[in-house]
């Protein structure tokens, strides 16, 4: 049982770990924002209001329901505690709207202080704010997922500000509350709901050729993945083996209680193998027996030439309609 539990736990842990890595709000970034929106991107009512773009940097879907957007993180420490109160000036992405961001996708929120206009309209407006940053906070109110501090002049400039390379930030610097130089900047073009990188993009193939010119890296990773997949199946089959062995032992013990001790000492694989060999021998013997038997032949053996050459066109059986098979 110990071994069995070990394998089960291993498989469960593997799934849990991959699932945890797979879907995470930590992959979200406040990719681009615009405050002085004179005549650019309009909301569904045709209004030109400040907006912020969230980017899912991951290669899987992320659920952003319940996360918070704010221009004032005051109360973050308290809100995250058990029973902590969520500050009223935080905008909670509605929990009744299931918002899933597909891999590498963008989502726009209008920072217009008009939450009644719909789920994509927040309850604050950075143009009126005392601070000059926008923050994204996790749904449990414990973690700051991303925070973009913008220059105060952005309020009077009709330009967008954000990550130069989509969502690329230095994790160590961010944890320390700092930013790498050049990570955030005024963007040449405003690109709501699309990539900030407007320069001609290097293709996936060219990038691979650049990063891994001899293909050794890819070969190693690929072989590791192939082995991982098949090792997972190997572990599963080992569990099968264990369970089958246990079940066989149990049924034998129930059927022949007096022979339990003898059976326990014998390797079950050998027992199965003998059984399989016996079955195979019986099968071969029966095949040989039936193979050597002949039906009674109705043909006449003769040395004379047949009067008519055989032709399927003349075969009566083929001209008759067959009964349908069920």
């Amino acid at each position: 049982m110990k071994l069995f539990s070990k394998y089960i736990l291993l498989v469960a842990a593997l799934f849990a770990v991959t699932a945890t890595f797979g879907q995470s709000v930590h992959d979200l970034r406040l990719n681009e924002m615009m405050i002085e929106n004179e005549e650019n991107y309009a909301d569904e009512y045709g209004r030109h209001v400040p907006w912020v773009e969230i980017f899912n940097t991951a290669y899987n879907t992320v659920n952003i329901t319940g996360c918070f957007l704010t221009d004032d993180t005051t109360g973050l420490a308290a809100a995250g505690k058990k029973g902590g109160k969520i500050p009223a000036h935080w905008y909670r992405i509605p929990t009744d709207q299931k918002m899933f961001m597909p891999q590498r996708s963008f989502l726009i929120f209008f920072l217009d202080d008009s939450p009644l206009y719909g789920p994509y309209h927040t309850n604050f407006n950075p143009a009126k704010s005392k601070t000059h940053y926008i923050a994204l906070i996790s749904s449990d109110a414990k973690e700051l997922l991303d925070m973009v501090e913008y220059p105060v002049e952005l309020r009077d400039t009709c330009r967008s500000y954000g990550y130069v390379q989509d969502g690329v930030r230095d994790p160590k610097a961010f944890k320390a509350g700092k930013r790498q130089a050049g990570e955030l900047a005024y963007l040449d073009d405003f690109t709501p709901a699309s990539s900030n990188e407007t320069a001609p993009k290097i293709s996936k193939q060219d990038k691979l050729k650049q990063d891994d010119p001899y293909g050794i890296g890819m070969a190693l990773i690929s072989m590791a993945v192939v082995f991982t997949a098949l090792i997972m199946i190997y572990i599963m089959l080992k569990i099968f083996n264990y369970v089958t062995r246990r079940a066989t032992q149990k049924s034998k013990a129930q059927a022949e209680p007096q022979k339990v001790a003898a059976v326990a000492n014998k390797d079950d694989d050998d027992v199965d193998a003998v059984n399989a060999e016996v079955v195979a021998a019986i099968g071969v013997a029966m095949h040989l027996h039936f193979g050597s038997m002949h039906d009674e032949e109705s043909e006449v053996i003769t040395i004379n030439m047949p009067s008519k050459h055989y032709s399927p066109w003349a075969q009566k059986e083929l001209t008759m309609k067959r009964n349908p098979r069920r």
């Binding site: 690929s222 072989m223 199946i233 099968f240």
Partner: protein, 381 residues
Amino acid sequence: MLEFFKEGLLQFLSYSGFGNCTWGHIIMICIGLIFIALGIIKEFEPLLLVPIGFGIIIGNIPFTDGLQVGVYESGSVLNYLYFGVVKGFYPPLIFLGIGAMTDFSALISNPKLILIGAAAQFGIFAAYITALLLGFTPMEAGAIGIIGGADGPTAIFISSKLAPSMMGAIAVSAYSYMALVPVIQPPIMRLLTTPQERVIRMRPPRAVSHREKVLFPMLCILLTAFLVPTGLPLLGMLFFGNLLKESGVTKRLANTASGPIVDIVTILIGLTVGASTQATNFLRPASVLIFVLGAFSFVIATASGVLFVKFFNLFLKEGNKINPLIGNAGVSAVPDAARVSLVEGQKYDRTNFLLMHAMGPNVAGVIGSAVAAGILLSFLY
């Protein structure tokens, strides 16, 4: 009147195959005839070589463009049939049939054999590296490398996505080497093994219960597809077909999948892949390189499987050791590679039957090559 007759005749001739024939067409038609001869006389994979060979002949009958007859001409009948190759929906249907025909018992009873199927996939990536060094683009290199998986449908599936212009050469190369498994593999196996290793007797596999056989495809699809979702079309169909076979309650569906469906798709895929090898597209130096790299990939895959078994044996107790002659079966040419193991094994010990042992790595190779295909797609597509 005579002038009109002469002109009409010349015009007709210009439309006929004779008027458009080139040396390339004749060479390709000869290749097609060789394929058919190999299939019928030598019985090397006749189910594949005969349709492909005939397809090569069809594809290389010269004609003038615009008549909507060629495989690459939009609206032609052959073009419609070729659609299943271009869009990659024939290979998963073949995998459905393979799943419905495959018995995974050998693998379930001796799980460690699955690792041989993983090791043999190294051929794919060795050929990928070599193709890159020879100047192919990463996508082309990936499509060429998959020949080493010894899996025709997978090769077509991958090349249709990564390098459609090379698909004809890659598919013909993959199927040719699959047909030549009994010729290519034995020398490598003999070269890499000692006489003592060739006579290793393996423990007979245990009996596998019905429940295990039913659970196997369901758990396998969960484990592999979660890891490599890009392999889902192949893996999903493979395990679905196997579930139909093993469930015991869908016999009719399993029979259809393993019979009529796989037969129809084999005819269509063989014929259209053969027809796609038009001389103008096929007879290029790159095609020769693809054939050479395909052979290299196949050799490395076989050698990797054999060498991995030898390495694995270092950690196994006496009595539990694996005969390295089943290492070649790690490629997914089912069941030819396993049959080669049996034949080679019996040359050194007539009472040593390796077939069922070799079926373990052989079916693991099918899973392994589908996983490898998924990885190539996720990296390159």
